[in-house]
Subunit: 341 residues, 2 copies
Amino acid sequence: MQRMTLKMLADHLCLSPTTVSRALNGYSDVSEQTRDRVEKAANEHGYRPNANARRLATGKSNVIGFAFPSELNPLADPHFVEFLAGLSEKVSETDYDILLAASKKGEASIYERFAAKGSVDLVVLSCVDLSEGRIVQLKELGLPFIVHGRTEHCSSYPYLDIDNYSVFYQPTRMLVELGHRDIAILNGQEHLVFALYRQQGWEAALREQGVEPRQDFVRNSEMTAERGYTLSRELLEQKNRPTALVCSSTLLAQGAYKAATELGLSIGKDISITAHDDGLPQASAENMDPPLTVTRSTLRDAGMEIANLAIRQIEGAPLSELQILWNAELIYRSSAGAYSG
Amino acid sequence: MQRMTLKMLADHLCLSPTTVSRALNGYSDVSEQTRDRVEKAANEHGYRPNANARRLATGKSNVIGFAFPSELNPLADPHFVEFLAGLSEKVSETDYDILLAASKKGEASIYERFAAKGSVDLVVLSCVDLSEGRIVQLKELGLPFIVHGRTEHCSSYPYLDIDNYSVFYQPTRMLVELGHRDIAILNGQEHLVFALYRQQGWEAALREQGVEPRQDFVRNSEMTAERGYTLSRELLEQKNRPTALVCSSTLLAQGAYKAATELGLSIGKDISITAHDDGLPQASAENMDPPLTVTRSTLRDAGMEIANLAIRQIEGAPLSELQILWNAELIYRSSAGAYSG
DNA sequence: CTTTATTCCCAAAGCGCTTTGGAAAATTAT
DNA sequence: ATAATTTTCCAAAGCGCTTTGGGAATAAAG
């Protein structure tokens, strides 16, 4: 079966391709009557404009790109996958698509390709770290982008981020007020921006109460249950063990639960545990035993919002509307309790 | 900075666009000398043909599509993610891209869009189930596809699959020879084709030795550690419990290990456990304690091979070269042992 | 009834590439 | 020397769409 083209449809309707195109694209200079006729015929014949022809004509691809270096496969990280799920769910409600590109030669080469080939309108950046070369490169290439997260110079580009400072500030402060002094953190990898901000939030909350943050109570690692377990064992087996653990992910907290349990510590009594909850289905905070105190902000929502922002950016929204900071609220559950000296 | 076009490059070289295009595309009717000159200039100026223009001209998009219904998000399944990682890793070595599309209205609507818009050369199907409507639809649409897995009428389309019959036949047979009679299976969801074939392999291995397969020893479910745990508890707590468990995934086996351990059963002695090993990094069979006996065939390799096949298919390889069946070898480790009545 | 707006439609010119079908120049054959 | 090839290049015609810049009706205003 021959694919239906604009011209064929036009011939069929005894109209010019111009008019059919304009009718379908909602221009006002076509009568309602013809527009109806055109739309009906288009539906009947299952006509869809050829994507590539349209892209060539408009210079827009309606594609959102996502690149990653294949060695550090983000697909292996449930946090990232959850984000991507939100992104693609939202994008699929629109006429945009998502292009995935992995490369052994790093993202830089992909962006360069994207930019030169024009196969993508915008790229989404995630897992930003402190020395974010990608942003510089994308600016040079003139390839629009949106960042999930922020770097230091975030004022000049669109982003969506959560207030990571407060993500650790809030639970730490709460724990201090519950009487805890020895509060350790299980954080994400230290090159990641969010991890830095979270650590700062933790330090600030402690210092406010006159507690000097102990650097030996800081752990940075991949956010998996396994690592959470290992690091928690380390921390909790010391003689001067922390009485509370603030984790960057519910996965880390899962590991912490296991370690605490093995060491015979009662969670919420002998040891208080909190985490940031990204809404991973594999590690739901409320179903843990005991239920886990968290700051919550789901990655799925973030993915969806990034999709919104991306599309609005492509359609020309001003920068000011494309910089969003979400707050994560503290949800108290029984995994945290008063210090029992 | 203005994007470099073919025409600009041609002007710069005092050649016609035709010649430049043909030089870059390896046609033989351009002298080696000019070809060199063209290639050098193209590199210098970072010229890449505009993807959309090329697509329009050639009618090929160089894009491999992947669709999924957004409610049943395959990204949540580590098995699928591992497959996708392999796929994208391989694809990224070529000039192809991967388009991801999620839809609430099911894959059907996506394929229809893909076909009508011409945004994709081929789609990859995975998680095929018995009543595979997608295949019928794609044939009708004339949209090329390749299947990871098979259905019953697999002779007419390209696929890559592993011999799932033997995936369960081999370990079951081995277990029977070790003296086991009561062998239960923890299989994938029953609507999935691979689960069916595996079950048949299990049944055959039992019947060959005169053991009638017990239907109450069959469990079908999502392949997660949690489900593996629950189902194993169920099975092992019965009075007439199975003495061996054959699992469809190392994740299920992880759950089985936990259940067995909790019930005080020594793995490899009181209870033998085997699994199919998809090569998930989260659940490595050799690192389990005791090391897990498996049939192994990694999903990452499958993803890479599907990428190869997809591209060869697009480039016109005959069907006969595009139907591949892999065997999964049995790797014996100490999680399985002789029946100790 | 003319003039000025409005409404509705379309011819033609691209978008940036590939491909077809020669043509000119350089080689080889006669 | 001319004729027959071979080599090397290019003009022009698309691919299927959007957009520009009118033009022919029709309606409103003078």
